[in-house]
Symmetry: D2
Subunit: 365 residues, 4 copies
């Protein structure tokens, strides 16, 4: 199998996501990082890339130059990984797509819906050249959940409930950095940072589209301009109802993403902090925990049952899919541009509803 | 300690709640059931009471006769326990209170707010002569939770989240009996049957009053006239936010009552199906499970740590408090008329909001 | 159903087990305590019985007088409940059996095997008139476990593993009372107090007899004459192996009784501190938790699924069986004299093996 | 930081451990695999190495040639990773150590104690040039546990209990491969394959040496020549007692490694299948789960709290330590030759005791 050469934009050492992308790529064995513009600060960018062992001529001080230079090289990168702050996602993605280089971009897609729509119009073929890093859809048991719903194991769906509770922004002194800066991170705050994950999972696992949102959107820690806690009700296709609750000020929670789907025949539950099991409960009082890697499971996985896979392995599964896309193979589970657009539409619908006392608002991607 | 003579109205053998009340009383050793009108059907009432070993002259065929007869006896009952369907709660309670006999009544208080208000006006002193069976407030760890909030262990509260998920009405053929009959059980459906428990717990543990509700109220199983699933957002005193989700069609759930309170300093969690532990989580990554009966706990309990108490023991704790009320002692944790009125106001506010697409609605007791 | 009159020997208010027996009886509604000799101290006995509301002529100062007086009354007790310290179990049981009064006796049967054997010879029909309070066999899910083994759900058994970990004797200052007094509680210490429970469960659930024991028996807290921690290997019928570990000095444990059975087809696990679920695991990576009261279960229970039953409800199930014995009905699950004898043989075999560096020792009842 | 060039012996694609080592190395970013002899079959070895992208001159058909060739190159490997079957560990290690190349070797060290002792005599400085892959000591929470014991959080230790339960060899048809071949895998069977992990953890976390073992060693699935289930009691320094139970035929278990340490002040528990938490229980009824990455923890980790690390991350931590050893830095937690010797002594003591009906046997490394 071919090993694809990769360039990274953003993600200097010390930035959480850059490091995660590098390790996830390494886990797959399908990628090699050979070019980078790791920081907006030209000097810092060069030094960081050199520290990672890149060759001097591939340590770029500017991503525009990088896009054009790499597109001209015969050994140019085959993939640009974008891990900049949110407001730079689309400008950078545009440059690389225009240069004919596929892109893997962090979520959320951007900071406002209009920009997102224009981008989508500008790149009508983006869905075959661009993926979004909705990490949690890479967990084996999330994919297994999707399969169980598809197989009809739950019967007709009734309700989809997702919560994502963190507490790292729980105090005024918490260093949210650009995520709390409306200009850079977007007006969505927690809706963009973690809400888009929940929204993508809801649609990914259920196979349904969310039509409307009624939201309560709050800023619980004083002194912020973006929301840090939001709770909403959802209306999906076919009368299925739902709820999403996201908070980055939920004291005592780490990265508490939990999802539950209720069907007429069974209930399904998964928790990101114990990702190796999927729980299926039925009305006869049985609650079955399926172990990842057990032979009752269909999703291929990296390690045998009982040898825990975690966050990086989930991320690596997205990169495995990314490699498939580059190989020209089908990768139906890889999040694409449209998933990014829907995430953006969700943010805006929730903000609108929240600002209007919870009025039901359409989610229009 | 004096053993109080008790009469029961409703609750023929085979009815779940009647049996539970009898066993809970027995657990305390503070009560003796000596009179009853166990059914609206006069013959069935007599037979059932005789089967329980009551003396013939205390086996009543009619609760009005019972109230007046018992009030005239020197050895008359000191407490009337009302376990009839909802619509009969207040007529029966009125008869016994008028006869000077204290009352312990099942929840919800009644089937409509107007009736409740008139009752409250008619019996201005009811709060010292009447208690409501909000069972779950009798669990030792629920009381402990209340104490922890009061002590400031959580810091300033941010959010109160309660869910109560059952599945026994999950199918059309499910036998909901009078609970699904609007005339007898009330229009609240799941809001009255289990929603009032969650609402009482929210106010009981937090010490706050709920001001407003924005609700989505649904009937998910076709052919019903009362709701079986409802999800709502709450506004409490002082800007504290909250959420309640109740369902009786949540496939795969038994009696899944779960509550979480988030404060600035810590998070508290309790689950009714594993009632012996209370979990306190803090931002440093520690999550501490307190065991009921452990010496870190303050609430007195029946059994030592590790010898599980359950539902009946929680119920018995309410009866212990009821005995205190009869003894003339303070019983500050025993739910009173006002708690019943607030439950009724909650049902009506949720129904109103649900009927008007989630508009925020005041909870006015 | 007839309500049986009961007398109690030992168990003055304040003594844990006396109180538990009284509440468990009350839960069943099948018994009425009407006579007692609650303490060896005559004055204390009278006062305690009067405090419980017994009539003066049924408040005995001496159990021998009680046995003979009750046997002569036409309204005499139908059952004597023995909750004295261990060394008095058989003398008291003898007196009541001789007086023709059936007996429910606390475990362990006695303090030494010889006494036990003589008692068994003296009362050849005791098995139909005497039961032992092996409480934990009264849990619904323990009985369900037995049924699953019997049905072949586990396939051929390979291994039976039980641990029972407490910490209430974990410190020198811990008040073990007569349980630590070899003359009163017996030389077995933790083997008698909790080891006999584990041994009974092993045989009760598996349906197999234990043939041999190899034990390590220790006194971990200085200044004691009886063991407080013991760990042993077992050989059962048909080559099935096993392990038992009991400790009363296992710091941080409450009443941590846990059992696991491994068969060729499945594994079964139950924990006393969360008694409402039974877990069945299979080689395909599925682990199914069965809820007590769920319709996948066969053992009848008191409360519906999700309304937790606990320790007292388990105890009450033994009393329900006791009532069946008195009714003249079959009560095949009720522990009898033979179970008491085997418990005694287990204690002695473990002590012998422990004293001889773990030599394999026969368990001979 | 320098990136070290690595060679691998054994571990052709498809072999579980080879793949794990490659991914773990990749996760650290500190190693590059550049040479290999991946199979005893020369052709398979060449093809496999080429498939991994190694240069033809570094794809060796023979490990002896590889050792000598690499030692002569100026760009030769700095580390030889040995993932062959057990019987080849020491011959291969000898060749590379003689060639002056440090070694990271899979466990168990070898198949018999005599060979191990001779090896240790032959390489008196091996402890600074050789590490053993006791994977589980690489988990952050295992290291945290060690620190808590060292800090005195548990008080004086009383008991160390470890179990390691798998079921992948639970059936006759199970393909154990060379692990069930006494000549290749050694006579220890499950004692070598997983028992050595438990023994290392016991000594690693407690800081104590195990002096004696009394074992029951069984072959529960017919037709095997090596044991698949063993249970033993241990005597550690200073009178601390312990128990180890290992099984590869424990139906329904995945990779169920669980350890508990009991001290006078607290109890500590960790489970490999949920490796992100460490549980500390105290006599006051509190049981605290510490989250990996939480600020109450001291061990550095890869990912923030709530972003699960798993098996590969634990393995990577060993490789991080290996890199430190190569850097010339202290790596006090990295398992060395002596740990391998003790593992071998444990296997032999357990086999001896098992063969002599559980006689207490010294563990002499």
């Amino acid at each position: 199998m071919r090993r694809w050469p990769v360039g990274m934009i953003g993600g200097a050492p010390g930035a959480f996501m850059g490091d995660v992308h590098r390790r996830a790529m390494a886990l797959t064995g399908r990628f090699e990082l050979i070019a980078a513009n790791l920081s907006r600060d030209a000097k810092r960018a060069s030094k960081a890339a050199a520290d990672l062992g890149l060759k001097p001529e591939r340590c770029y001080e500017d991503w525009q130059i990088m896009a054009s230079a790499e597109s001209r090289r015969t050994d140019g990168i085959a993939l640009a990984v974008i891990v900049t702050p949110n407001n730079m996602h689309l400008p950078v993605a545009s440059a690389f797509l225009e240069a004919g280089i596929p892109v893997l971009c962090e979520k959320p897609l951007t900071t406002e819906m209009d920009t997102a729509r224009r981008f989508a119009e500008q790149f009508p073929n983006a869905s075959s050249q661009m993926a979004l890093a909705y990490t949690y859809s890479g967990y084996a048991m999330v994919r297994e959940a999707r399969q169980l719903v598809k197989n009809g194991t739950l019967g007709a769906l009734r309700s989809i409930q997702i919560e994502y509770l963190q507490d790292w922004l729980g105090h005024t002194e918490a260093a949210g950095g650009w995520r709390l800066d409306e200009q850079i991170g977007g007006a969505g705050g927690c809706l963009g940072d973690i809400g888009t994950h929940t929204f993508h999972l809801a649609e990914f696992i259920s196979g349904l589209k969310c039509q409307q949102v009624s939201a309560r959107v709050s800023t619980l820690v004083a002194g912020r301009t973006v929301p840090d806690d939001a709770q909403m009700q959802l209306r999906f296709d076919g009368g299925v109802i739902g709820g999403i609750w996201v908070s980055q000020v939920a004291t005592g929670c780490g990265n508490g993403l939990r999802l539950r789907l209720f069907g007429e025949k069974a209930r399904l539950e998964w928790r990101q902090e114990t990702p190796e099991t999927l729980i299926l409960s039925t009305p006869d009082g049985r609650s079955t925990a399926f172990a990842r890697g057990g032979c009752a499971m269909q999703t291929p996985s990296l390690l045998p049952q009982g040898h825990p896979e975690g966050y990086l392995e989930a991320f690596a599964r997205l990169y495995d899919d990314m490699a498939l896309m580059l190989d020209g193979q089908p990768a139906p589970l890889l999040p694409r541009l449209n998933d990014g657009l829907r995430g953006q539409a969700f943010i805006e619908a929730a903000l609108t509803s929240g600002a209007r006392d919870g009025i039901w608002t359409h989610v229009q991607a």
